[in-house]
């Protein structure tokens, strides 16, 4: 974690992440002793630490600095850690896979929309993705949100407008067993109540499946690379596709080594494209 410019002070969450990583390493070190032939090994079950620190505010963030010798007035902060199971971690962790719009708030634009200070304030209320931002703003009066978050209503409206615009963030080539590739287009706001129209290199292609965050299309046999256009209800999003990696073996049908069955497992060529 980068140190604060003025002092050896660190944001609380970064310090806790670093400390958690240290506890993981300590646990690994204890577990390694079992491999050296020791009959008894130990694991760290609970830990609490009481630290003498000073709280400071740097660039709008609360940071911790340890008390130096002879420095009076330090605060005492207690951290308690206990072991938790993988199931408990998963239960309490935000799943990006379930988020319908996992873009970061920063993807909504630069300082003209939400600046660093606004993003930090949104993080403080638990908003880190565009999907969370949309849920926060859904049905809310932007003026009330201005009063709550402190971000000017014009910028909130602009951010909300941008958050609902369709965008292509990437695509993935799925190769079917028969050798024909399908193109999975990822993004946000790509589909609504009506099915979007998709064009590859200017030609309409069949849309097999459409969800707000991904669309599955069937490229034509001559499509190799070009522009993706998704005509969604809220506008048009563009990106680029490249099927050249799968088109070359398609000309000469590939045979999987060993069992002689063509393309025993679907191949995936994944790439990120910033629109």
């Amino acid at each position: 974690m980068p140190p604060n410019r003025s002092a050896q002070a660190y944001p609380v969450e970064e310090f806790l992440q670093a400390l958690s990583a240290q506890l993981d390493r300590a646990q690994d070190a204890l577990a390694l002793k079992a491999r050296t032939g020791r009959p008894l090994t130990f694991a760290l079950k609970d830990l609490s630490v009481e630290l003498k620190v000073f709280w400071e505010v740097a660039e709008g963030r609360l940071v911790l600095r340890h008390a130096a010798p002879n420095e009076e007035g330090a605060s005492v902060v207690h951290f308690s850690f206990t072991t938790i199971t993988r199931a408990m971690v998963e239960e309490n962790t935000f799943s990006l896979a379930l988020e319908d719009d996992p873009r970061g708030i920063g993807d909504l634009g630069g300082h003209d929309v939400l600046d660093e200070y606004d993003r930090r304030k949104l993080e403080l209320v638990g908003v880190r993705t565009v999907g969370q931002f949309k849920r926060l703003m859904h049905g809310a009066d932007p003026r009330q949100m201005e009063a709550l978050i402190g971000t000017p209503v014009d910028r909130l409206r602009m951010a909300l407008e941008r958050s609902s615009a369709p965008v292509v963030t990437g695509n993935e080539v799925l190769q079917r067993p028969d050798g024909r590739p399908l193109l999975k287009i990822r993004g946000a706001n790509l589909a609504g109540s009506t099915r979007p129209r998709v064009r590859l290199s200017g030609e309409a292609v069949e849309v097999l499946d459409a969800k707000p965050h991904e669309i599955l299309v069937r490229p034509m046999s001559h499509h190799v690379e070009g522009v993706i256009e998704v005509h969604a209800p809220e506008g048009v999003a563009e990106g680029f596709f490249d099927l050249s990696q799968v088109r070359a073996p398609a000309a000469k049908p590939a045979v999987a080594a060993g069992n002689g069955s063509p393309h025993a497992t679907p191949e995936v060529d994944s790439r990120e494209v910033r629109a």
Binding site: M1, P2, P3, Q8, A9, Y10, F15, A18, L19, A21, Q22, L23, D24, R25, A26, A29, L30, A31, A34, L40, T41, F42, A43, L44, K45, D46, L47, S48, V49, E50, L51, K52, V53, L64, R65, H66, A67, A68, P69, N70, E71, A74, V76
Partner: protein, 79 residues
Amino acid sequence: MIAFDAFLPSLLESLALGSGDERDGLSLAVTEVEIEIPIEHRLSAEGLHAEAPGTRLVTGFKSHSGRMRARFCEDGGED
């Protein structure tokens, strides 16, 4: 001071976690250890650095000791 991830195992390493030999007819093994000690600490980019305070050395500097309590259990054992 040393990194906290090295400090914790070294604390455990410093303890005798058993005594006697089965061949003598009796042996004792420790199955749970709880250590509560004062620590001198420093925050760093890697997390925490710590050491046990040098209580016998008077330096003229009054260090701000923190405190830590760690409970180690036999691996695989129930709490």
